[in-house]
């Protein structure tokens, strides 16, 4: 169980996309994900989380580089143009690398 490097993918997008997005993540090989509710501002204006249509979610996925690239490519191809969405990736060290 020595430490090992993985990618941490953070996706911030509209809550409306939650169900679809989580299914995609499963299909693209993510071993897990973590969600929380968020609000914010970006190119598509203020998203205040006062109610469903203006809520954001913040999704984190820890995964290997291949999966990270697959997810990134998929999101860029399918949602980037039509949805309020940003995505960023960073390097993290994990324990039990076999989990991710």
């Amino acid at each position: 169980m020595s430490p090992c490097t993985r990618k941490l993918l953070t996706i911030i997008t509209e809550a409306a996309l939650e169900n679809v997005l989580l299914k995609d993540l499963d299909r693209l090989g993510a071993q897990g994900y973590t969600l929380s509710d968020a609000r914010g501002k970006g190119h598509r204006g203020i998203r205040s989380s006062a109610w469903d249509a203006s809520s954001n979610i913040r999704v984190e996925v820890v995964c290997n580089e291949v999966t990270a690239e697959a997810i990134t490519a998929h999101l860029q191809a399918n949602y980037y143009n039509d949805y309020a969405m940003i995505l960023f990736v960073s390097d993290v060290t994990v324990l039990r690398p076999e989990k991710f």
Binding site: E14, A16, L17, S55
Partner: protein
């Protein structure tokens, strides 16, 4: 609506607080709780009435109302597309919002009718539930064409199992099965508190409406005109249907109100998934920023007046 009703004052309070950029903000959990109670209560009220009459009698009404839900967006679409010059998906999405209904507008109308002692067909919540959906389908077809290969399963899921529909139809079924006697034990929460909870809901709606005014400024005059004009036209269509179906004046006026109202729960969610190219800010700006306040502050009593005129001109139906 008489601007003195406290329900409406709560809306105005929320609207003012929002426009003045006050710190007032309701947690989304409160919005969820309050809207859940309203949807269940409206459903149950309707369900209790269903228990009193054979459902078969209502089937033709459900059919006609569904037809109305198909016609309204087909009417709105060309105006949006060719007069408003919106791109195809946007025109289709806005049209779908106006073909569907707003539960909050209905709730305010119920309060107004009660205060004016206007009676109406008590199974109206059933028609409300029926009206939510057809316009969504029309909107999708308008946006994507008939040959589009939308996964039908996912769409049906989104449409029929959305939060709003499940609570409204669930309430209908509970009211229907339990009947007026059975429901009595839960009446203190769902019926006695109805007005108060609606007041809280409208406070929040005021805040949400205020948040749409920014987009309105950006998308300009046409959207404002459409947001007022479309309800006025829809109201007359609702009156025509109500009259043709042999409704009472009150019932006809209520159908006019439903026709004039624009959805902001079921349709935005369904459109976001099935027509993602449509800009949701446009439909919400029109439906919430213009038509909802117009209907609540001016439209409801106006459409009732329209219905009264019609009945006094043409006589009671049949």
């Amino acid at each position: 609506m008489t601007s003195l009703d406290p329900i409406v004052l709560f809306f105005i309070l929320g609207l003012s607080a929002g426009l003045l950029r006050s710190e007032l903000r309701l947690p989304s959990a409160v919005y969820d709780l309050v809207s859940m109670v309203l949807l269940l209560a409206i459903g149950m009220k309707g369900g209790i009435e269903l228990a009193k009459q054979p459902l078969i009698v209502l089937l033709p009404q459900m059919f006609w109302v569904m037809l109305m839900g198909l016609i309204l967006p087909l009417l709105a679409y060309p105006v949006l597309r060719y007069v408003g010059h919106f791109k195809r998906e946007d025109a289709a999405s806005i049209a779908a919002h106006y073909g569907s209904v707003s539960v909050a507008t209905y709730a305010v109308a119920v309060v107004y009718f009660a205060s004016q002692q206007i009676s109406f067909e008590a199974h109206m919540p059933l028609l409300l539930a029926v009206l939510e959906i057809p316009a969504i389908l029309v909107g999708i077809v308008l946006a994507r064409g008939l040959r589009s290969k939308m996964p039908l399963g996912a769409l049906a899921h989104e449409v029929f199992l959305g939060k709003g529909i499940v609570l409204l139809v669930g309430g209908l079924l509970i009211g229907w099965i339990a009947g007026p006697q059975g429901i009595q034990s839960i009446a203190p929460l769902f019926f006695d508190l109805f007005y108060g909870i609606l007041a809280l809901f409208l406070l929040e709606m005021g805040l949400i409406t205020a948040a749409q005014f920014g987009s309105l400024r950006r998308y300009g005059l046409f959207l404002i005109l459409f947001g007022i004009g479309m309800p006025l036209v829809s109201a007359w269509i609702g009156i025509a249907f109500g009259y043709a179906m042999g409704f009472s004046v009150g019932g006809t006026a209520m159908l006019a109100i439903l026709a004039a109202s624009a959805s902001y729960i079921a349709v935005p969610a369904a459109m976001r998934i099935s027509v993602p190219q449509a800009n949701p800010a446009l439909s919400l700006a029109a439906a919430l920023g213009v038509s909802f306040p117009f209907n609540v502050l001016v439209g409801i009593p106006l459409y009732y007046t329209f219905a009264v005129w019609t009945y006094s001109l043409l006589g009671a139906p049949r």
